[in-house]
């Protein structure tokens, strides 16, 4: 794929404020790994200037709409409208030209086959977990704990269920599933199966809570982080997060774009992460 000029196949609002965009992408199925992302160029003019990072939700093939042509390979992103760039994206249509750079970054490591997998995701944090689930369901039992502020934040449940993933929904306002935080559900799940492995993506406070739980129980954890990004390829050093052992004199910064966005929990200096590392405003 790399830097790719292509076209939109579909762009639809799937829940208030959440959109799903399908983009034509030859090679995507073979190239994209669970947890990787792409940099989306909102328009070809210079405003907004920078590309926007989005996780790759899934890849696949759809039948061509021209008889006799082979199926069309695509990838999908799911995005929440939070600012100028995503607002402009929501106005794009089938057939519009876009430019994407990807797949980028390190994705998830599949863990040990056989051990139960618990995926934890909030809102748009579900995005990188879908391809992970696709990959894991073959060798392990997979459970998804999804949380959100309200029922609007609970998206794409059916897609996960279709894979055979058992899903647990909780919302802070109780408008869907259990009332409360997803971390409470995680505790229960780990009580039931202390040998599980955990994969999480969502706002930093949630990740910190998940980390606390997993650390205490010595459960393997991988997290997918967000950061402000300019280049997406490890060149600008805008997206750094503090790695374990980091100090002023021997800096150990990790690039979220290149060494992440997925990290094993042990890689990060959890006690030294600022609230601006690992997650952004839009992710709350």
């Amino acid at each position: 794929m790399s830097n790719f000029k292509t076209r939109i196949l579909a762009n639809q609002e799937i829940s208030p404020g959440y959109w799903r965009m399908r983009i034509q992408a030859p090679g995507a199925v073979a190239d994209c790994r669970a947890g990787q992302f792409l940099m989306f160029r909102v328009q070809l003019s210079l405003l907004p200037l920078l590309r926007r990072p989005f996780g790759i939700f899934r890849t696949g093939f759809q039948p061509s709409d021209v008889d006799g042509l082979p199926p069309v390979e695509y990838l999908e992103i799911l995005y929440k409208v939070v600012g100028q760039g995503t607002a402009m994206m929501s106005e794009l249509h089938h057939g519009d030209r876009v430019e994407i750079l990807g797949p980028l970054g390190r994705g998830f490591d599949g863990g040990e086959p056989g051990r139960r997998k618990i995926l934890v995701g909030g809102g748009i944090g579900l995005v990188p977990l879908y391809m992970l689930a696709e990959q894991l369901v073959d060798g392990s039992e997979v459970r998804l704990l999804m949380g959100g502020r309200t029922r609007d934040d609970i998206i794409v449940v059916t897609e996960f269920e279709r894979l055979g993933v058992q899903t647990y929904v909780s919302t802070e306002d109780g408008s869907l599933g259990d009332r409360g935080l997803v971390t409470a559900v995680l505790q229960q799940q780990l009580d039931a199966d202390p040998d599980a492995e955990v994969f999480a993506c969502g706002p930093l406070p949630m990740l910190e809570a998940v980390y606390g739980i997993c650390r205490q129980r010595q459960v393997p954890l991988q997290v997918s982080l967000e950061a402000l990004m300019a280049c997406g390829v490890g060149a600008c050093l805008g997206c750094v997060v503090k790695g374990v052992g980091h100090s002023e004199t021997s800096p150990r910064f990790l690039c979220t774009c290149k060494e992440g966005p997925v990290f094993r929990a042990e890689q990060l200096a959890w006690d030294r992460l600022d609230r601006t590392e690992g997650t952004c405003e839009g992710c709350k």
Binding site: S2, N3, L50, L101, M229, C231, A235, G238, V240
Partner: protein, 310 residues
């Protein structure tokens, strides 16, 4: 571009003895150490490669957030995070050595001694074609005055580097000054072989809901298309003021943008922020320069340099 047309136009330029296939190179800090862009671009086709700014010791840089977008531009306060000159030699040069494009190491210091010492070490790398001295840094021993904003301090920094360096020396100027020609003359007098301008304009952006600066360092450097008119003006002024060659930097993202600088008198150009927007931005600039020359019936791009009619 067909090979036919390539044969017709010469894009080659030479700066202070440094021969380049074309006048297009990355701006320091926007292209990593080259390898980050290898998947997107044939590094052999660039005029030169300029590295991230190096310092004597590894540098942690600033807290996050370090970047934010502005209207047609961006602010950065990376804080010159880098691996340090020794790690550069050990880990980054082996990759760069294999590329058939001259490598220019950008570096900085916070004292005169540091400038001199980094220069000395860089001077020992045979495969390094030239160095670019970033003087937009505070002198920690002299009340934090920024070397590049004071003609004396700038002169001193260049002087100490010159004494430790045999390679071509490019000095990168900051635009945050009243009269950039004064600084340009000072560094030329101190023995610079060329100047590059401009570095970023100091700017600030505020998150009005949180009442906080958008980047942790409060202020940062403004780059991107928004600043191009300031950069073109300063390059034009410096070209008039000094006899040494000038490299134009600031807001270039297309061949037409690059041509503004060349026509104003720059011998070469650097592409910065545009690399983030388009990882093959430089390739597009190079192809576009060639196309422009063909369209305008120009056989050698050097005919365009300084061709401004005023």
């Amino acid at each position: 571009m067909s090979q036919q047309s390539t044969a017709k136009v010469s894009l080659a330029v030479e700066i202070a003895g440094l021969r380049m296939k074309n006048p297009v190179m990355p701006a320091s800090g926007t292209f990593g150490y080259g390898e980050e862009f290898a998947p997107y671009l044939d590094l052999n086709r660039l005029g030169a490669i300029v590295t991230k700014g190096l310092s004597l010791r590894p540098k942690a840089g600033n807290p996050t957030p370090r970047i934010c977008e502005t209207v047609s531009g961006m602010l950065n306060a990376i804080g010159l995070q880098n691996v340090g000159v020794d790690a550069f030699i050990e880990h980054k040069m082996p990759f760069l050595r294999e590329i058939n494009t001259p490598v220019i190491a950008n570096f900085f210091g916070n004292t005169l001694e540091e400038y001199g010492e980094v220069a000395r070490r860089l001077n020992e790398i045979p495969e390094l074609a030239a160095v670019e001295l970033n003087i937009s840094c505070p002198n920690v021993k002299q009340g934090g005055i920024v070397f590049g904003t004071d003609p004396q301090a700038a002169h001193q920094a260049v002087d100490v580097v010159r004494k430790n360096l045999d390679k071509p020396l490019i000095v990168k100027l900051t635009p945050n000054v009243t009269d950039i020609t004064v600084i340009a003359r000072a560094v030329a007098d101190a023995g610079a072989d060329a100047v590059s301008c401009i570095n970023t304009l100091t700017g600030m952006s505020i998150d009005v809901r949180r009442r906080k600066p958008k980047i942790a360092n409060r202020t940062g450097g403004l780059s991107g298309p928004a600043i191009r008119p300031v950069a073109v003006r300063m390059v034009y002024q410096v070209v008039q003021a000094v006899a040494i060659p000038v490299i134009g930097v600031g807001g270039i993202s297309s061949a037409e943008d690059a041509l503004e600088f060349l026509i104003a008198g720059a011998q070469a150009v650097q592409v910065g922020t545009a690399n983030f927007v388009d990882p093959d931005a430089m390739q597009q600039v190079i192809d576009g320069l060639e196309r422009f020359c063909i369209e305008e019936g120009i056989a050698d791009i050097r005919e365009l340099i300084g061709s401004l009619e005023v």
